[in-house]
Symmetry: C2
Subunit: 209 residues, 2 copies
């Protein structure tokens, strides 16, 4: 889907450069072109620095179409992200298969997601937006508490289960910041197989004790 | 210093509202008023969304004075932050006093800093800037590697010492994101004394094994 998306944006850019303001024939197609352009722009520049106008330009469509299909910038942002985390799947993976490897399964699941560039871009776009925009922070806060912390806490067999679920999240959020955003070395280039044995016991202790 | 700073900004705001464009008598005073205003604006809106013009307005000074005293926005940002971390002090605290409580000392040191609103605002301003601006991410990357990861790694007695120092940093960065930026509950309101026994073993294991 990412390759398709990039190709769509490249085509749109090329069309824009050739001076063909792109009215696309099918509505479904236009919607997808806007989503692909929005995803690329938000990932490259973050929520705050991306304008509806710039997305329309990248998609080579009339800006009015963005409002027609998606409403506000918030709404387009959330639609564009198709946030790649399936919380129910996450919970199932944490719980299923025995308590002794909860931390390792969670770390491997997270890296499976994050080492995929398209999924990583979406996670980074959400994090960047939440770091700089209070409205986005509120949206993400609600998402984390409702979709992650509470379902995970519900299956933990320890005191302070929500706090523990959130501490596990802080380790993963910090790892994302250090490896992919700040990109400090050697963390940024370390093979996943070197990171798993260092990170897994942290999550194991928070979630299982 | 924060109370002073806030008062300075408030005075400047009041002066601006009363229509007195503030030329201040002493150069040293003006410099401080600009720094206080810059700190407040960067903390509230982040690096990207703060303009030199808005800082000049908050400080009630001519925008040309900002360029005169500080040059570019980057330079004003770094000057305004007086980044509150003293890396040498941090390393000394980690190393000094026995290996059995390294994690706890580090966590307590970090909360001592972060629970102080003025210091926290500066840390958050740096993190927000680094999350959304590649130039700031590069500055912060250099700072972390030179001033934190390498000095800490130099005193660790384990394989992969730099990677371990950076993993400790990721736990603290993630905790800052979760508690102060995303502000998820119960993490955001949990007393420090509840967090220390949960976080300290993580840092202890990364840094001491």
């Amino acid at each position: 889907m990412s390759a398709q998306g990039d190709a769509g944006v490249a085509d749109a850019d090329a069309a824009a450069r050739r001076g063909r303001p792109g009215r696309r024939p099918g509505g479904g197609d236009t919607r997808q072109v806007i989503l692909d352009a929005a995803r690329a722009e938000f990932a490259a520049r973050g929520y705050e620095n991306t304008s509806m106008r710039a997305i329309a330009r990248a998609a080579a469509v009339n800006p009015a179409l963005l409002h027609h299909y998606f409403g506000t910038k918030d709404q387009l942002f959330l639609a564009a992200l198709e946030f790649p985390l399936q919380p129910r799947e996450l919970v199932a993976r944490i719980v299923g298969g025995g308590r002794e490897a909860v931390g390792e399964r969670l770390v491997r699941f997270a890296f499976g997601l994050l080492e995929n560039p398209a999924a990583r871009d979406r996670v980074l776009a959400v994090l960047r937006a939440a770091a700089t925009n209070e409205q986005m922070a509120r949206l993400m806060r609600g998402f984390i508490m409702r979709e992650l912390a509470r379902p995970v806490a519900a299956v933990l067999d320890l005191p302070q289960p929500e706090l523990r679920a959130q501490l596990a999240m802080t380790q993963m959020v910090g790892m994302i910041m250090g490896r992919y955003v700040l990109a400090v070395e050697p963390l940024a280039s370390a093979p996943v197989e070197e990171l798993v044995p260092l990170l897994a016991p942290t999550l194991q202790r928070y979630l299982v004790g």
